[in-house]
Each structure stands twice: as C-alpha cells, then as structure tokens.
Symmetry: C2
Subunit: 396 residues, 2 copies
C-alpha cells in the first residue's frame, strides 16, 4: 500500500476545528454548546451584500478573472484609500480567502526550508500553511504579561539567518487581540530593510481597533513599499467568513506578478462570493460603528467576567475579537475536550480553542485557551459562568 507524505504527517490538526466531532456528539446528546472556539461572528452580513447575491442575474456561473475583476479591484483600492492606504487596482490580487493569499505569498517569496519569523502565539493555521508550503516558522515569543506586545526587536534579530525571508505579523492579532502601534511597525520596518526581508502583515481585522486606537498599516509606512505584502479578507470585516474572498496587496510588482501565476493556476476565485464582496464595499459606516460598539461591549463583558474567576489570567485585547486566557489547568487541550465530552451545566457547555496549537515552541501555551467573543453579551456571560463551574468541577 502506498504511504502518505511526511508533509502530510506533519500537518497539524487545527486547534480550532479538531474538537468539532466532540461538539457534534455533545449536540446529538441534546447539550447546547456555546462556540467560543472559532472566529465565526454571529453578526449579520451587510444586507447590501446578501441582496446582491439574491438578486444576481447569472445564467452561467462562469470563471472570474484569476486576479479578480478590474471593477472590484478598483473599488477595493478606493476602500484602502479611505483607510489611508494608497494602492492601485494592479497592486491587488483577489484570492480565495486570506488563507489562499498567504499560501500564494509564501509560494511567491519562499523556497523549501526558507524561514519566516512570527511572533507567537499566532494564528494556528500559519503552521499548516507553512508545512503545506515546505517552509519553516521561526517563532519569537510574545508574553501574556505584556498583553502580547511586539517582542524586543533584538529578539527578532537573534533569529535571522541566511534562510530568513520574511517576518509575518497579524495586526490586530489573532489570537492575541493585540494592536501594534505605529512605533512597533516602524521598528519592524527598520529591521526588514536592514536584512532585506519581506514584512507580511495579515490585516484582516483592520476595522476592529478599540479604545480610540487607530490601526496603522504596514502599507502606510513610507519607504517600505518594496518590502511589504498585506494579506486581507472580507471574512471578518463584513461577517462573511464563508464567502472565501481575500486578497494580496503589494506595491512590489515582482510579488504581484508572481502571485498572479499562482492565481492563474487555480483559475478563479469563487464567483458568487465576488458578487457579495463587491457589493459589500458599499456597506454604510453605521454598520461598522454598530459592530465595533457591540464588540467593545462584548470584550469588556468577557474580560470583566473572566477576571472574576480565581486563577485566570487574561491579556486585554485592543483589537480583533479574541483573547488568550491562562487557566488554572495543566493541559488545556484535555480540559477543552472534557468540557464537550463530560461536562454540562443545565445541559449547556462551551467549546474553546486550546492555545498550544497557536504556538510553535513546544510546551508553550499548554494552560491557555483562545476565546473568541463572537457571541452576544448574554451568551458570553453564560459561557463564563459555565467555564467557572467547569473549572471547579475539573479541579476537584
């Protein structure tokens, strides 16, 4: 019998998804499961996007242009201009979600065994994309005590080798909720210029910056144009994760020309989702204002409630809709599975994402979980109650 690849063996199970079968079993037993494990907001997709798909006039669901239509990319450029990011239609390649944007980016700039430095904890699927691309993630540790701020730049410098091709950040951060300051971005700018590296920034949570803080994009940094590659997606911005539309944005024409070849090989991003995404660009500002208010409220609720539980340590998020919580357990992986398999409070339980999978360094994050505050306030309060009781039962 032929065997699978080493690459396949090394592919990690998604810490966000791997407990899904346990959750489904719990549901089959009639237990209600609150999903704090995945960044799937309950926020309604903008009506204008939903309507565009309902009213579509397609008779043949045809391929779209590999890089996305000129009209969509032109409208996207206008959206970026409103966000102080000056790019043109041709600086954009539309992709099937931010996931594909990152895969195309890795493929375009990195060869086998090349290295990308990423502050950890980081979005768990960066591990999977790296293994799929045959490259190596070199983690630099950020700490819950610092709210996961940028590690000292010397720590990055220590890790740079001839194999290093890029630094990758997620800003605002998933799973940390940390929003990098302009000063932090400028520190990264200095180092990528010094060592001739790309700076890849996953900015899919751009809109989700709280407490009056402004998001500072790597694309805003003058003189960094040839070094920066921005990853973006409609998933979170418009609460349409299932659309699967993202993009690569760069002023570096070599990067764009190369990413285009990857895009052409897979022919087309999904056509229906493009209709939704183009329409979504006309979403009124009031939608975002409401959404941000809602998330701030949820974050405040979640953090306040979590901090009431003895033995829990939380990093206060300034953006996105996640937080990392350190729990008074030894193995959060086991605890998370136990929550689904063996615990219920009045027939309800919660699903969280064990945080170890968000780290590349073995042994880190074992007692941490990522909590996505994508549920309404009432459900969040209830979820934290369940967590509190569960911890008591688990630690008895």
């Amino acid at each position: 019998m032929p065997s699978i690849s080493n690459k396949g063996l090394k592919m990690p199970e998604s810490p966000i998804r791997k407990l899904v079968p346990y959750a489904e079993d719990a549901k089959k037993k009639g237990v209600k499961v609150f999903h704090l494990n995945i960044g799937q907001p309950d926020i309604k997709t903008p009506q204008i996007a939903l309507d565009a798909v309902k009213n579509n006039k397609l008779e043949v669901v045809a391929y779209a242009r590999s890089e996305g239509s000129e009209t969509y990319r032109t409208k996207l450029a206008a959206y970026y201009a409103k966000n102080n990011i000056s790019v043109n239609t041709n600086d954009i390649i539309v992709t099937t979600g931010g996931s594909e944007a990152l895969l195309f980016t890795f493929g375009s700039i990195m060869d086998a065994d090349d290295e990308v430095i990423i502050p950890e904890p980081f979005y768990a699927n960066y591990n999977g994309f790296s293994i799929a691309s045959g490259i190596k993630v070199i983690p630099v540790i950020s700490k819950i005590e610092d709210n996961f701020a940028l590690p000292p730049i010397e720590e990055f410098e220590k890790l740079i080798t001839p194999k290093t091709k890029a630094i990758l950040i997620c800003n605002p951060g998933n799973p940390t909720g940390y929003l990098y300051s302009k000063e932090e971005i400028q520190k990264l700018a200095t180092i990528v210029k010094k060592y001739d590296l790309f700076l890849i920034a996953d900015e899919v949570y751009r809109e989700f910056a709280y407490d009056g803080l402004e998001h500072y994009s790597v694309m805003q940094e003058k003189g960094l144009e040839q070094y920066t590659i921005m990853i973006d997606s409609v998933s979170k911005r418009y609460s349409m994760c299932g659309a699967r539309i993202g993009c690569i944005v760069s002023k570096n024409t070599d990067v764009i020309a190369t990413a285009l070849k990857f895009a052409q090989a897979r022919l087309s991003p999904p056509t229906y989702a493009l209709i939704a995404s183009e329409a979504a660009l006309d979403t009124p500002q009031s939608y975002f204002d409401d959404v941000i208010d809602e998330y701030v409220d949820r974050r405040n609720t979640l953090i306040t409630e979590l901090e009431k539980i003895e033995g829990i340590k939380v990093a206060k998020p300034k953006g996105a809709f996640y937080c990392i919580a350190e729990l008074p357990v030894e193995n959060a992986d086991h605890f998370a599975q136990w929550l689904l398999e063996s615990f219920q409070l009045n027939n309800e339980t919660i699903m969280v994402a064990p945080a170890a999978g968000f780290y590349a360094t073995e042994g880190l994050g074992l007692n941490q979980v990522r909590i996505a505050y994508v549920l309404n306030k009432k459900d969040l309060i209830r979820s934290v109650q369940i967590l509190k009781k569960a911890l008591e039962a688990y630690n008895q």
Copy 2:
C-alpha cells in the same frame, strides 16, 4: 530589496490565461473575440442550482464545515453510486474546485522532489500545482497519431524511480479529449500495485463521454481501493466553473484523514457555491442528455470543419470538450498572439490556447493548439473560417 522565490520564478504562466491581456486589447479596439481558449462552456447552469442561490435565506454567510457538510457529501455519495462508484460520505473531502483537490492530494502523498508520472499533453495547470507543491512532473508521451491513447505501459515502467509516488491521469482527457478504456485503466492498476504507487484520476469530465462509450472510473476497479484518489469538480458537469467546488474521493482512510488537515487549515469551501452544488445534484437527466447531444454536435462540426483545412491534423476526441490540433505553423504561441494582436476577419478573431504549455517535455507541442468547443455551432463554424483565413494570411 528582497527577492521572490525560485519556485515563483519557475511557476509557469498559464497557457490558457496568458493571452487574456491581448484579447482585452483586441476587444477595446472593437474586435469580437471567439474564445476557444478556455473550458468555460456557454451552457446554462441548471436552473435548480441558480434558484437555490437566489432563494438562499442566509443572514450570516458563515464558514462551512472544512470537509463539506454531511448532507452534501451524503448526496454526493448517492450521485457516485448512480455512476457505479461505490463510496461513503466519509470517503469525500469537499474542496475549492478540482484545483484545490489536486493541491491537497499532492500535499498528502508527496514530499519535496517526489515524482508524479503524467501522460502528456496534460492539463497545463498540473505544472503549476506541481511547482507550488515542490514536486516533479515526469511526462510520458502520448501521440496525436494514436488520438492520445494510453502510452505503452513499459514507457511508464521505464520512468519509475524511488521518488515516484503516483501516476496521474485525466479521464476523459483535457486537453486531448481521449477516454481511457477499461483495459487501459486495468493496465494502470497492475503497475501501481506492482510499484506501490497512487493512481490519481482527474475525472471532472465523467459525464462527457461520447459515441456510446461508457466512462470507467478508477474507483470501479476492484482491489485498487487503497491506491486510487479521484479528483472531481462541479465546474464542467453543471457548467458552473465559477462556483469553485470540487472534491477528493478515496477509500484510503489515511489519504482522507491527511487531506482533511489541509482542508481544515483553509477553514471552509465557499458557502454560496456549496448551496448551488448541493442543489445541482437534483438536476434532471434530461439536462445532461441535452448537453451531451449539444457537445457531440459541436465536436462533429468542429472536427469536420478543421479537417477541411489543409495542413491541419486533429485527434478525434471521445470525451470532454477539447481537441488538440496540429497547425501548419512553427510556433503556435506566436500565432495565437498574432491572432489577437494583428489579425481580424470582418472585425472578428479567435483566441486559442497554445499547446506547448500542456507538455512538460521541452519542444513538444510547439505547433499545436488546444481548441475548446464550448461555443455554439454557428460560432464554431465561424471560428474555423477565421482560423483558415488567418493561417493563409500568417503563412503568406
């Protein structure tokens, strides 16, 4: 300035797409372009699929399950059963098009520098997916004189090395239109068992078998269950190329479990397209009967008309909707570009795909083009007239 990867440099331009800018320039000049270059049929998508999307009730366009919903995969398994392919819900991973299915397959069974043997000419993007995956395509030559039948099995055998992990076929073939017989599949079965290789079959044109011939799937071959991986897609079957829904089907549970990890990393196939694809499974048989009649008619028309042109050699397709034509030109690449840049007949021209990009062996296919008969009969006849006049002008 940081540089792009060797992988990126090696990524081929798509022979199907690379002339698109020239076609757009021609259109801007008011020239009508008949598109024979891409497998984008003009056939209407089944109404039932179009309606399902128009009538969707989504309020949040949420992630789908990474491997596709249980209901969709169960209905897919029933569709396969009708096609004499016996598989279960759990033998299927739903992907973003056949493209992603092939990428996940390569990732699941092949490591860097591993080899896959493919009869050439083959679907050009196999080259791109191989480079993206860091693996090597080893071509085995099939010939226009034989209508591109399976090369002698000894020719495969000569190419097998310790690095060989799989043989990949496309059946019916893009770009050849060749339909492998049961006997040919059985020859492949013998060799993959003898050398412990996977047999990957891209069967996205399953329905498009003509002249009363029946498609024989690798999945029908007894005793081959652990060796076969089938790639499928809704793109051609339901004329919904832009949906981007495909799947991997295998009875080999290691392959499916590994492909699932790749699927989880990218979270979800596109949700709207899943709605269309699930609904499309209820397309009435009459739709396919009409479509097949139409394609047979088109094929007959195209071949008859092409054969009237002196100096053209064509392989008669038995399936899919492509044919390879050998033209009386030295460089079909140049000729195809010239057709768009410099030729018109009453303000009309044609776009074809130069065939060299469908070969891996340097120097093969230089005087060949792939013609997709995805236009109506009248347009096909007109297209061949244009080709005839163009060849006369080009060869003056």
